[in-house]
């Protein structure tokens, strides 16, 4: 308990940064991932190929490597200077989008064929069918795997701690500088994550109940 109380000035702000990192990357990857999914089902073969290439490459690259690129290599390019925090948000978004894309796409697959056919019979075009008929139903049916992906994102955000972002994953190194017990500190960090993950799981269950589509 002492380790936590003595270092509340670390735990508080660092966990807040984790949540901030999570929220920004979650919004970013939900938007970008959905766009990727739309590319992957679009009528234009080239768009489908672009989406597939992106997902294949990113899904087979370790997130730590993505971080290493944006933190170590990117600054050498002199494009736009970014802070470590921004680099972390970008890395997490780039990475998580590929997984969100696959979740959304599998959701699109669960929507019965008749829905899209009915849309076409009414004369809706591809964008209208996707945006107004298929995606709303697809997104509801993929709430559980979607939140699982977001939970993964939350846990992945600790990697940022290894790349100079002051968030929960970095608490350990500060604690060791102050000479407190690292084991205890790490257990508190672990507990913090268990609480955060439980909150997301709770959201998952309640959304699942409320949003389940009657079929």
């Amino acid at each position: 308990m002492d380790v936590l109380l003595n270092n509340l000035d670390l735990f508080g702000p660092f966990f807040l940064t984790t949540i901030e990192l999570f929220a920004l990357a979650a919004v970013g990857s939900l938007v970008f991932g959905t766009i990727l999914a739309m590319l992957r089902v679009s009528p234009v073969p080239v768009f489908r190929a672009i989406g597939t290439a992106y997902v294949t490459i990113v899904r087979n690259t370790p997130l730590t490597l993505v971080f290493a690129f944006f933190v170590f290599a990117y600054p050498l390019l002199n494009i736009v200077k970014v802070s470590y925090f921004t680099a972390a948000v970008v890395s997490l978004t780039v990475y998580t989008s590929a997984f969100i894309c696959e979740v959304v796409r599998s959701g699109i697959n669960t929507v019965p064929v008749g829905q899209a056919e009915a849309g076409r019979a009414l004369g809706l075009n591809f964008g209208q069918i996707l945006g107004q008929v298929v995606l709303p139903q697809a997104l509801r049916s993929v709430v559980p795997p979607m939140i699982s992906t977001l939970i993964a994102l939350l846990k992945n955000s600790t990697i940022a701690g290894g790349f100079s972002v002051s968030e929960a994953g970095a608490i350990r190194s500060y604690i060791s500088e102050r000479g407190d017990n690292q084991m205890v500190a790490l257990l508190w960090v672990a507990l913090g994550f268990i609480i955060l993950v439980s909150v997301l799981s709770f959201v998952q269950r309640s959304l699942e109940k409320r949003w389940s589509v009657a079929r």
Partner: protein, 300 residues
């Protein structure tokens, strides 16, 4: 399923699609060209930054780094599969206390970020007087985390089997263990094989976290080479090389999963999962293979 969302394009649409395709290609090429030019402009493609690849010493060190990565992967995979099988059996047990303990352990290790687990074993254990090595921390972390996820996969696989399978086996007079090992598990593993392998891809990628607990694996070596002044600090080239090696290794495993899935679907013995949860586990993983997220982050 793609053609469900839109009609077969007529001549007019085809023209329009061709226009879109050209625009798409131009945009992507422009992006790639911009990145490559930025690399080139900042001197990342100069011969000096690539010449390290020609040194025999560097090549053998690079090979050693790959071997270290594969070693962590192999140990982690074997232990995680064992851990998963044991705790899946625990969660399916008829004894409430075995179920309780197994559930608590599995949920615990799934909720903690893998990196924090590795830190616990690498920096935490020495404070209690245990000597640890980076390899130990990496393998133990990979085992506990991915083992927990695999336990859920195994469990979902067994639960997805039609009830009649177990009932028929019991009717033949088999014991509980026999039912599990000769009837249920072989079918469950078969059904979940693609998911299991995609989880192993996750495990392979997660070995890169060893970089942060000073395990001398591929990414660690790439960073080391990238910081060498003698080669002009070739961090961009070394990251590119490391990325290429990781991607190839993961793609090989993914290809195996895809092949098995296709073979599965062809086979008449294949049983479609009937359980909604099992479908979600498969969906989550097919969709995921998530970083060290493995899908299935939270509740079961």
């Amino acid at each position: 399923m793609n053609n469900v969302l839109f009609d077969v394009p007529g001549p007019k649409s085809r023209m329009r699609h061709r226009l879109y395709a050209v625009i798409g290609i131009v945009v992507v090429l422009a992006l790639i060209a911009f990145v490559v030019y930025s690399f080139y402009d900042s001197g990342q493609f100069t011969a000096q930054k690539w010449e390290w690849l020609q040194y025999a010493q560097v090549q053998s060190d690079l090979a050693n780094a790959v071997v270290a990565t594969l070693e962590a992967f192999a140990l982690g995979a074997v232990f995680a599969l064992i851990f998963g099988a044991v705790f899946a059996a625990g969660r399916l047990s008829d004894h409430a206390w075995v179920r309780g303990i197994s559930t608590a352990i599995v949920e615990f290790f799934r909720a903690i970020p893998l990196l924090i687990l590795m830190f616990l074993f690498y920096y935490g254990l020495p404070t209690l007087g245990f000597d640890t090595s980076p390899l130990f921390a990496v393998v133990l972390g990979l085992t506990l985390y991915n083992g927990s996820v695999l336990a859920e996969v195994f469990r979902a696989g067994v639960n997805s089997l039609p009830k009649g399978q177990a009932e028929a086996a019991y009717a033949l007079g088999m014991r509980k263990t026999q039912v599990m090992f000769t009837v249920l598990l072989p079918q469950a593993i078969r059904a979940m094989l693609p998911t299991i392998i995609s989880q192993l891809v996750v495990l392979l990628k997660d070995t890169a976290l060893g970089f942060l607990v000073t395990y001398p694996e591929l990414l660690y070596y790439a960073r080391y080479i990238g910081s060498q002044g003698a080669f002009g600090r070739p961090i961009v080239p070394s990251t590119i090389v490391a990325a290429a090696i990781y991607i190839v290794m993961c793609l090989l495993l993914t290809a195996l999963a895809t092949y098995l899935e296709r073979r599965n679907r062809r086979s008449k013995k294949h049983i479609e999962p009937t359980d909604r949860k099992a479908e979600q586990v498969m969906l989550g993983n097919a969709a995921g293979g998530q970083a060290f997220g493995g899908g299935l982050g939270g509740s079961s």
